[in-house]
């Protein structure tokens, strides 16, 4: 997705913005005329519509800076953080098309129900299984430990569901856990402090698990944080195969 700095300011005075409206599985696009501003993100465009044109438009945002992952939508058919997408970057002619994030149920207009995404996060055993408690010392782990580097490679995920929306495997198989949950499982699997690598491998090797991934790479292509869930999923595939062949689950750090 990164494509250099935004192009210089265009001459346009206004934007024609098609916005998906509806709820309960029914709806369609409505068109709004929105004035062009020098500093203008997609979130600013939907905000302008709600504040000036249609007070009933519903969208979701929180942090405004790409940390919370609440505001992702489909922008010209591609999943993006709307708070960090400058209009210049995505404008084709004078038109924009904005829709709720793909692969999730729509609550209303541009807002999706993210519960299925997080339910899968939980199903992938994507939470720490402690080996120590608040009365123990911190684990001495050096920053260059190879398992740590592997664990850290995906750690900046903000669960925005952009990869989940981008994934055709999710679209074709509603049971598939999806790139974000699997990447998180890989992060935890590689954590020397995590007790239950076997539970993680069990969770990711079932019917909706890592082996569904066809390595199409949309997750890595669209991740706004430039993470690579596809590599993490490949790691899980190797780990589950190794366990199948050797009967050994988690490698203990050397």
């Amino acid at each position: 997705m990164p494509d250099g700095s935004p192009k210089p300011e265009t001459e346009q005075r206004s934007l024609r913005v098609k916005v998906w409206r509806g709820s309960g599985g029914e709806g369609g696009y409505e068109t709004f005329e929105v004035p062009r501003q020098p500093s203008q993100t997609i979130l600013d465009v939907v905000t302008w519509i709600q504040q000036h044109s249609d007070p009933n438009l519903t969208y979701r945002f929180a942090c405004r800076v790409g940390m919370c992952g609440s505001c992702a939508m489909m922008v010209n058919d591609e999943p993006r953080w709307t708070c960090r997408t400058h209009v210049d970057r995505v404008l084709k002619g004078d038109e924009l098309r904005i829709a709720p994030l793909r692969n999730l149920p729509v609550i209303k207009d541009l807002v999706t129900d993210m519960d299925p995404f997080f339910d899968k996060w939980v199903s992938a055993e994507a939470r720490h299984h402690p080996t120590a408690d608040r009365h123990s010392d911190f684990a001495a782990i050096t920053p260059d430990d190879p398992h740590r580097l592997e664990a850290s490679s995906g750690i900046e995920c903000i669960n925005c569901a952009v990869c989940y929306a981008a994934c055709d495997t999710v679209a074709g198989n509603p049971d598939y856990l999806g790139p974000a949950a699997l990447q998180r499982a890989w992060t935890l699997f590689n954590d020397a402090r995590d007790e239950d690598g076997d539970a993680i491998l069990d969770a990711v090797s079932g019917t909706g698990g890592c082996h569904n991934c066809h390595s199409m790479g949309s997750c890595a292509h669209y991740c706004p944080n430039e993470l690579n869930p596809m590599t993490a999923i490949a790691g899980l595939k190797r780990a589950t195969a190794r366990r199948f062949l050797t009967g050994r689950g988690k490698r203990k750090p050397s």
């Binding site: 700095s5 935004p6 501003q37 020098p38 500093s39 993100t41 600013d44 905000t47 302008w48 709600q50 007070p55 009933n56 979701r60 945002f61 929180a62 942090c63 405004r64 800076v65 790409g66 940390m67 919370c68 609440s70 708070c83 960090r84 997408t85 400058h86 210049d88 609550i107 209303k108 519960d115 997080f118 996060w121 939980v122 994507a126 939470r127 720490h128 402690p130 080996t131 408690d133 608040r134 009365h135 123990s136 010392d137 911190f138 684990a139 001495a140 782990i141 050096t142 920053p143 260059d144 664990a151 850290s152 750690i155 900046e156 995920c157 903000i158 669960n159 998180r184 954590d191 402090r193």
Partner: protein, 584 residues
């Protein structure tokens, strides 16, 4: 018109899912008897709204290497300009040690390490030791992601996109019966009774033209607490961050933080004439503390020495664009996404309202004067006094959130649900429905008006005449708001209705900030009075206390109790050096 009211019961109800709310949920579950029902209600999505997630810097905790809890305590008291509640500050710094171990070992956070595998700690401004534990400059994401995973995988009832609008006392007045909420998705009211309620909705001074907090933060918690008659302390204390992005009035990017580290690394501030001005104000130049840099920028703005959008420039390019990109990748990328070249060019910045030190009066166990109500995190006052140190915010929310969970877990045993005062419940519903079906007015223009008033007259530099002018303007805005309507065609996820209620809360608390600002006739920490620019006698320090009496808000002064250390003294041994931080 009538709107549906649904009723629901639980045992423990937690409002908010930042560091305080999520920790409370985990601790309540550990402490409460088996079978206790715990409900987490939040205005947005669990773990996503609120501000803990946005923590960049880190978590202050004394972990040895010469640093001590006593030293952390003294830094907190000095940083708070002798106004903190000392027992709360002590509870904060001492419990932080256990809490950080819990975060690493039980919750699963992994903080940055030294080459030998021990935790890396750095020194923030105002600290005398390398004390701040962090995960790069995205510490909040690490903490909230991990807490969220733990909470989501436990049997805790979730009420997402449920906005709390009223604390409803019991019929006999002996405590809290429950909380009135709006199920935002459905657009109906839901009254949830509970035996114990934690309010951890976060403060968030978004009534200023420039502000950093998350968009959902609108002081709802403090406004509810005030209406319920609770005492609010230090309400004049609004912390401004000196470098918020300035990108025009029409973008939500404006006001968001450009991190402190930019100035620390050698970033310079230039006024509209392109002149470096910080040394006119302080010998440390751009490395002066947040309050001083904010006031200096504000002063340049008052003299109209400004950039095209009315702020100043921050410039980093003299440090080498590649070097800047390498050192601050997140900041550079964020600016680039939004059309600004931080590494090689100049970016317009402005002071921006960041954190609210004021809050509900609580004891060290998060209890309030209302039986059944607990308050933690930014909604609670006392721990920070006049100024919060960078790194003490997330320590505060996680420490006291956990304590609240413990207390509620223990307290619910043997307690029963209370009958609500139905008259107050009905009045709170009426209050929320006030704009529905009315026509006229524009809530968004009105919010801008409020933000201008607060910025101009109750902002970085204050005077009695300015604040008195603001009080009049706030009453005018209030009258206009009550005449401003919202279409009632569809209440499901009606953001404009919520914008009206957001403004209602912000306006209520703006008045309190202004009155408290008038009551403090000296300059301490975040509060600067041009007409009373002296710190004042430390030994007779007072804090402001705001409370409703009938329909009147009264602001009084109460003496600070120096329960642990008196001004001019220290609890550090005589042999201890002033600072352990190596000079640059």
């Amino acid at each position: 018109m009538t709107v549906q009211l649904e009723r629901h019961d639980t045992d423990i109800l937690i409002l908010g899912s930042g560091g305080a709310g999520l920790f409370a949920a985990l601790h309540a579950q550990q402490a409460a008897p088996e079978g206790t029902k715990i409900t987490l209600a939040v205005k947005g999505l669990i773990g996503k709204c609120g501000c803990t997630r946005m923590v960049q810097g880190g978590y202050n905790v004394a972990l040895g290497g010469g640093d001590t809890v006593e030293r952390h305590f003294m830094d907190t008291i000095n940083g708070g300009k002798w106004l903190p509640d000392q027992d709360m500050a002590w509870r904060l710094v001492s419990t932080a040690v256990e809490r950080i171990h819990e975060l690493e070992n039980e919750v699963g956070c992994f903080f940055d390490r030294n080459p030998d595998g021990t935790l890396h700690q750095k020194a923030f401004a105002g600290q005398t030791a390398d004390r701040t534990v962090h995960k790069g400059d995205l510490t909040g994401i690490e903490i909230i992601n991990r807490l969220m995973e733990q909470v989501l995988s436990r049997p805790i009832e979730r009420m997402q996109e449920h906005r709390a609008i009223g604390l409803i006392p019991s019929k006999d007045g002996d405590g809290l019966a429950g909380v009135l909420m709006i199920d935002m998705r459905k657009g109906c009211f839901r009254f949830v009774r509970a035996k114990a309620v934690l309010m951890a909705t976060g403060g968030g001074p978004t009534m200023y033209r420039y502000h950093t907090p998350s968009g959902d933060k609108t002081m709802d918690g403090l406004a509810m607490a005030m209406r319920a008659g609770l005492g609010l302390r230090d309400m004049e204390m609004v912390q401004f961050h000196p470098t918020g992005l300035l990108a025009g009035d029409n973008t939500r990017m404006t006001g968001t933080v450009l991190e402190e580290g930019l100035r620390g690394a050698g970033g310079i501030l230039l006024n509209g004439d392109g002149r470096r001005f910080m040394f006119d104000y302080d010998d440390r130049g751009e490395r002066a503390t947040r309050d001083i840099v904010s006031r200096a920028i504000y002063d340049e703005m008052r003299k109209s020495n400004t950039t095209p959008q009315g702020g100043v420039h921050i410039a980093m390019s003299h440090l080498g664009p590649d070097n800047v990109s390498q050192k601050f990748p997140g900041m550079v990328k964020r600016c680039a996404d939004c059309g600004f070249d931080l590494a090689g060019g100049k970016v317009e910045v402005v002071p921006t309202a960041h954190y609210f030190m004021g809050g509900v009066m609580v004891d060290v166990d998060t209890r309030t004067t209302m039986d059944g109500l607990y308050v933690a995190g930014e909604d609670a006052g006392g721990a920070h006094g006049a100024n919060r140190l960078g790194g003490n915010g997330v320590a505060n929310s996680t420490v006291f959130g956990g304590i609240a969970g413990d207390m509620m877990g223990w307290d619910v045993s043997g307690r029963s649900l209370r009958e609500a005062d139905e008259t107050i419940l009905a009045a709170e519903i009426d209050r929320a429905m006030h704009p529905l079906g009315k026509t006229g007015g524009n809530v968004h223009e009105l919010r801008r008006k409020l933000q201008d008033v607060m910025w101009d007259d109750v902002g970085v530099i204050r005077t009695a005449s300015g604040m008195n002018r603001a009080l009049v303007a706030l009453e005018d805005i209030d009258a206009e708001l009550m005449d401003t309507g919202v279409s009632a065609d569809n209440l499901a996820f009606n953001l404009t209705w919520h914008d009206w209620m957001n403004l209602r809360s912000l306006l209520d608390i703006s008045k309190v900030i202004t009155q408290a600002g008038l009551a403090r006739e000296n300059s301490r920490g975040a509060h600067f009075r041009e007409d009373f620019s002296e710190v004042g006698d430390l030994n007779s320090s007072y804090f402001t206390l705001a409370q409703m009496h009938g329909s009147n808000l009264e602001v009084t002064r109460a003496p600070v109790a120096f329960t642990i250390v008196k001004p001019g003294q220290t609890i550090l041994p005589d042999s201890e050096p002033d600072t352990l931080v190596a000079a640059e």
